[in-house]
């Protein structure tokens, strides 16, 4: 999707200032509030390539930096995404950084402070990052246990930017832009989304994200009946419990009527 990101605060200014001053950025925010969209949009605005790494528990330092591969009976070195980003002066986006193990995240330490260099032990090489290079990381503070997993030494190297779900008028504009939703439908969906977010969290895996509201509006634009679209895009992903789903469905009917 090549649409522009609609800012709900001063996040663009912070991002730009951090980039100009070669500071790494940590994006905090609930799932589906637009972190990835924001980074994509900023990379385009700044004219930098964006290299995204989805972090997971099995991600090793080698996965980020690179490794030797076998070519016939010789070995060849293959740069990992982080090395590639440093060499090319790209923006490297480590999505859900806390999912990566602590021993993996330490390789970014020398990149994230004043040194701005990447040490490739296996090659015996040290690459200095060009000024355009930027490290951006995201994590979701909603999952409390992982908050503790992010080492303080990693956190403290970052400029942190907190994103939340946008305010109602902004979120309505987003729905209108991203899913071509008519204003009235956008208002109904946003009200429903905000109501679900206000629900006490028991039984729900998360709140209804902006992303899921967009999906619902898109399904409707594709011709799906509004109740079915909301059920498929918002309610079903939130809960596996049949009673909760049915009650949320009834609630959605009131918001859509």
């Amino acid at each position: 999707m090549d649409t522009n990101y609609i800012a709900s605060g001063q996040e663009e200014e912070v991002f730009r200032a951090a980039w100009q001053n070669r500071l790494p950025l940590l994006l905090k925010g609930p799932t589906g509030c637009g972190k990835t969209k924001f980074v994509q949009s900023m990379a385009r605005l700044l004219g930098r390539e964006l290299i995204t790494v989805a972090c997971h528990e099995d991600l090793t330092a080698g996965d980020l930096i690179g490794r030797f591969l076998l070519d016939g009976v010789k070995t060849i070195w293959q740069d990992g995404p982080l090395t590639k980003a440093v060499r090319e002066g790209a923006i490297c986006y480590l999505d859900e950084i806390v999912e990566a193990r602590a021993d993996t995240t330490v390789v970014i330490h020398p990149l994230a402070d004043h040194r701005r260099e990447l040490n490739i032990e296996r090659l015996g090489e040290m690459i200095a990052a060009p000024p355009e290079f930027m490290l951006v990381m995201s994590y979701n503070p909603g999952y409390q246990s992982v908050l503790k997993d992010l080492k303080p030494s990693t956190r403290q190297r970052m400029v942190a930017l907190e994103l939340t779900y946008p305010d109602a008028p902004v979120e309505e504009r987003i729905l209108m832009q991203e899913a071509s939703a008519p204003p009235e439908l956008a208002s109904r969906l946003v009200r429903l989304g905000r109501a679900i977010r206000a629900l006490p969290q028991d039984g729900l895996s998360d709140g209804a994200s902006t992303r899921s509201l967009i999906s619902a509006a898109r399904l409707m634009a594709a011709g799906l009946a509004s109740e079915l679209a909301v059920k498929s895009a918002i309610i079903a992903p939130l809960s596996d419990d049949p009673v909760t789903s049915r009650n949320l469905g009834e609630m959605a009917k009131i918001y859509l009527a």
């Binding site: 080698g62 490794r67 109904r188 009200r191 109501a195 206000a198 006490p200 039984g203 609630m251 918001y255």
Partner: protein, 572 residues
Amino acid sequence: MRYPDGDAIAGFAPLASAIAGCAVTVQLGAQSFTDGRSITVATTRDGPIWLDICAQAAMIGAGSLDGALLRHLVGRPKTARRYLYLEVNRASHVLRDRLPLGFSRQPVFEAAQPLTESAAVSLALAAGKRALPEPPPFFGSIRPLFALRHKAADAGDTAGARSDGRENSAGHGVKLHAEDVATESSLLLRLLENPFSKGGWLSDMLNDLLGAGVSKGERDSNAAPAAGEIPVGRVERGLRRGVAALLGTLNIPLPALEDFTGGGQHVYPEWDMAKSRYRKNWVFVQEAEPWLGEDKRDFADFMAPPSVALRRQMADLGLGHEMRRRQSDGTELDTGAMIDYAIAVQSGHVPSRLEVYRASRRTRRDLGVVILLDISGSTASQDHEGQAVFKRQLQLAYQLGRTVDRLGDVSAIIGFHGWGRKQMRAVRIKGHHEAWSRAIDARFALLEPVGYTRTGAAIRHGAALLGNIIRQPNKLLLIITDGIPYDEDYELRYAEQDTRKALREARAAGTACLCISVGAETETGKLAEIFGAGNILAVDEPEEARLHIRQLCRRALAAVSKRRYAGRAMAG
């Protein structure tokens, strides 16, 4: 849209909760109003009832039911109706982003700005002379006393639900509907009194338990509240003693020592708070087989097998990374495999698979789990839904036990209760070397909630089992209990301190400890004080445990492994 049956109306709870911003239930009644926790919708209303629900929930969400303000509305129905009009209007503006569009578009909300900007201003205006329109029917009504009662109950106790049932059964609800101002006021006076005084739920319960109170009929006929019969400061202690004493002694004959058929006896120290030192060889814990009672519980009906979701949650606990050789991809080249490969290629073969890498994989399962199940007499108590806490604890222990067993962890399940420091029993439900079998199912069915809770000794026993016998790198001790430790010479601060000390010892030895309370009405604050706020999981139903158990277990395991590491670093 009419909802004659209660089930369908209950389905409106998410709508009400979402607007109110807190958990709210919905039921049918004679009039639409809310007490702050539940919304009653009039059965007699024509038109869509969700409008009523939205109006009432919005008042909760916008803070219209503030106790200090509501007090001024008691016995002033006219002011209350004017306040209602102003507050629903204000709430519809404050919460317009999450109210249904259909609600916000009601003609009554046409004004761009509400008349008042806070509940206090609404009250002042409502009490004044300015002419205000009559609220439309879907606004329902405002019943200050109902809301106040809940606020007082919230402030004074955690068992508000208990007081509800009691007052309704005593017929107070009916009196309120009669809008009898005098009754409301006198009720309010009683309400604001000390909850331990005569007529308070706590003293009611205590009297019921000890059989010491006057009968309910007598008391209800006695309109003027008398002074408290029980000195307040001692009530909590007295209650705990009373409950434990009754439950501990009523349904059990003290077991004779030869009844024990189990294994060895263990001796543990106990922390003497007053002297700040251990009492050596103080508690005697006897390993025992489950009690062979007369009536075997029919087991099948409530022991649901553990859900896949729970297994998924527990699946990656205690998984360790280990370097695997000869992988098809990986971080490093595996030199041995490389040499084999090079030889094969040089001699003209091309191996079909290129497994020459070393990779770190999370495969090792190195978790030892001991589940300590509180089977003391106090767990036989019923919660507000009439379900025994014991039964739920059993269900949870069963599900957790089966789950960790199926995942391949070394696990043991021990029931604990006792009669003083010389007769603690550790009932073997599942031994750590045992595979899951019908015999284990059968042992669950034999358990009986009797005796007292000497939590510190139980924790020491579980931790010793994990540390000395199971000896896995990751140790997890799950304590399923209804809360407060109590035994002979083991209560209050002393018991709490000893339990805390036992937990500290266990954690220092690298055992992650987690307390799970299910359906118990113990104050979680107390449990948090003993176990640490991050180490308790209080749920109403066994199934709810799966939502948080993974996070808590992981955090607890991570915390002790850090400690272990720090300890080692210091030693080195």
